[in-house]
């Protein structure tokens, strides 16, 4: 696989995830537990990009997320920038190219993103914040991680993901 061909394939997977975000999401029922395909796309990109590029990608995804639900504009940008940067940096330093590790990575990324959005946004407090953090965010993180796992498994050759260490 050439580098250019590989880039096109990765771009295709990212575009597919963006399309899934807007087409599958309405069919999944409760939006609070639906997987966030945009976050999966960001992390799929971030784990194979330089930290700076991942931060820029996170910035763009955050802008899109904030434009869609403009409750606390900028909080999503901040959260996605941090998650993108930390994912790329952490992947380069700590993690192996393994399906389960990557799935765990998406799970943690979703939790961290939600935590930053909720705390930096300062639009929810008290019991609402508590239930978001201890219930809805973990549930969404699980569904998002599952979506990430299916994506990584389905496109493992294009994304260079190993099934085991």
């Amino acid at each position: 696989m050439t580098v250019r061909g590989g880039r096109y394939r990765v771009a295709g997977v990212l575009l597919l995830l963006a399309v899934l975000h807007f087409t599958v999401l309405p069919l999944l029922g409760d939006p609070r537990v639906a997987p966030d395909f945009l976050l999966v796309a960001l992390l799929v990109y971030a784990i194979r990009a330089r930290p700076g590029d991942a931060a820029i990608a996170g910035f763009v995804v955050g802008l899109v997320a904030d434009a869609l639900t403009p409750v606390a504009f900028g909080a999503g940008v901040l959260a996605h920038t941090l998650v993108g940067y930390l994912a790329a940096w952490g992947k380069a330093v700590f993690f192996a190219e393994n399906l389960m590790v990557n799935t765990g990575f998406v799970f943690v990324g979703s939790l961290v993103r939600d935590f930053i959005v909720l705390v930096a946004g300062r639009h929810v407090a008290g019991s609402v914040l508590l239930w978001q953090l201890v219930f809805w965010s973990p549930v969404r993180a699980v569904t998002t991680a599952l979506a990430g796992m299916v994506t990584l498994f389905a496109f493992r050759r294009w994304l260079d993901v190993r099934m085991s260490e």
Binding site: P26, D30, A67, A92, A120, H123
Partner: protein
């Protein structure tokens, strides 16, 4: 393909990260009109095809529901064996919305809700109707059962509504007999599934019994932001008392934002709507 960095975190990466961080903080601190303008530009440009796609998916789902309804009339026994529960619920909601649609004595627009997988989705909702359909900012948004929120910003093909769970939401409320008046505001969550409202500032001398339905009063501003007579929720209990002055009541909302897939946006002048909800209320 692997484009993972062999040298992580160079000066270029740190600079890009710092710049993005700085810009995101600046965006967070920007005045709301600037934030709304930026959100509107993004929605109209790169997000426009994706939002159209999402709207089409919702239309297809609704069409599928209608088709199931026709089949139900032809062969209800066969259909009942095949019918998915979710589709039945969707049908019921659409029918009830249709009844409400015919009863409303005011100009209005029906719209799909474009839910997003974000932790903030329950506070604002993106609606698939905009300026082209006659939607204006501050237009009340209602759903089956009662009041959902108010339109905050409008784009040509979509609009953003803040719902009653948003910390900025307030509405002037009353009981149907006009005895008790107060302001309804979000209260918080009682468990993961249950968000509540509170009715504040009810005069101490007026008692509101649990189970009493609370409606919009139509007060506030020139002709009021919300029309009179839209159900808000049911009183559960007294939450707080200021001895001799006022009471605050806990209210179970009439509409849960996460469960709403279709809404009605009121675009006409504010009139009394209490008659529109009489048979729909649970």
């Amino acid at each position: 393909m692997s484009i993972a960095p062999d040298r992580f975190n160079t000066r270029r990466d740190t600079f890009a990260f710092g710049l993005c961080l700085l810009l995101s903080v600046a965006l967070r601190m920007a005045p709301p009109p600037v934030q709304d303008t930026l959100a509107s530009v993004i929605t109209r440009s790169i997000l426009a095809p994706f939002l159209t796609l999402q709207e089409q998916v919702l239309l297809m789902r609704a069409a599928r529901t209608s088709y199931a309804d026709v089949v139900a009339q032809r062969d209800s026994a066969f259909l009942s064996a095949l019918e998915v529960k979710a589709l039945e619920e969707e049908n019921t909601r659409l029918r009830e919305l249709l009844v409400l649609h015919q009863r409303l004595p005011v100009r209005h627009v029906a719209a799909d809700v474009l839910h997003q997988a974000a932790p903030t989705d329950g506070l604002t909702l993106r609606l698939a109707a905009g300026a082209r359909d006659g939607v204006l900012a501050t237009a009340p948004v209602i759903a089956r059962g009662g009041l959902l929120g108010i339109v905050r910003s409008v784009e040509p093909a979509s609009a953003v509504a803040i719902v009653w769970a948003h910390p900025d939401f307030r509405v002037s409320a009353m009981t149907l007999d006009g005895e008790a008046f107060g302001i309804v505001a979000p209260h918080g969550a009682e468990g993961p599934w249950r968000m509540l409202l509170e009715l504040q500032g009810v005069p101490y001398g007026v008692r509101v019994a649990p189970g009493t339905m609370i409606y919009t009063s139509g007060l506030g501003g020139g002709s009021g932001v919300y029309p009179r007579g839209v159900p808000i929720g049911t009183v559960l209990a007294v939450l707080d008392e200021q001895e001799g002055w006022s009471r605050t009541y806990l209210v179970e909302p009439a509409v849960q934002p996460a469960a709403v897939s279709h809404v009605i946006i009121l675009t006409g002048p504010r009139v009394d709507l209490s008659g529109a909800f009489t048979d729909i209320l649970p």
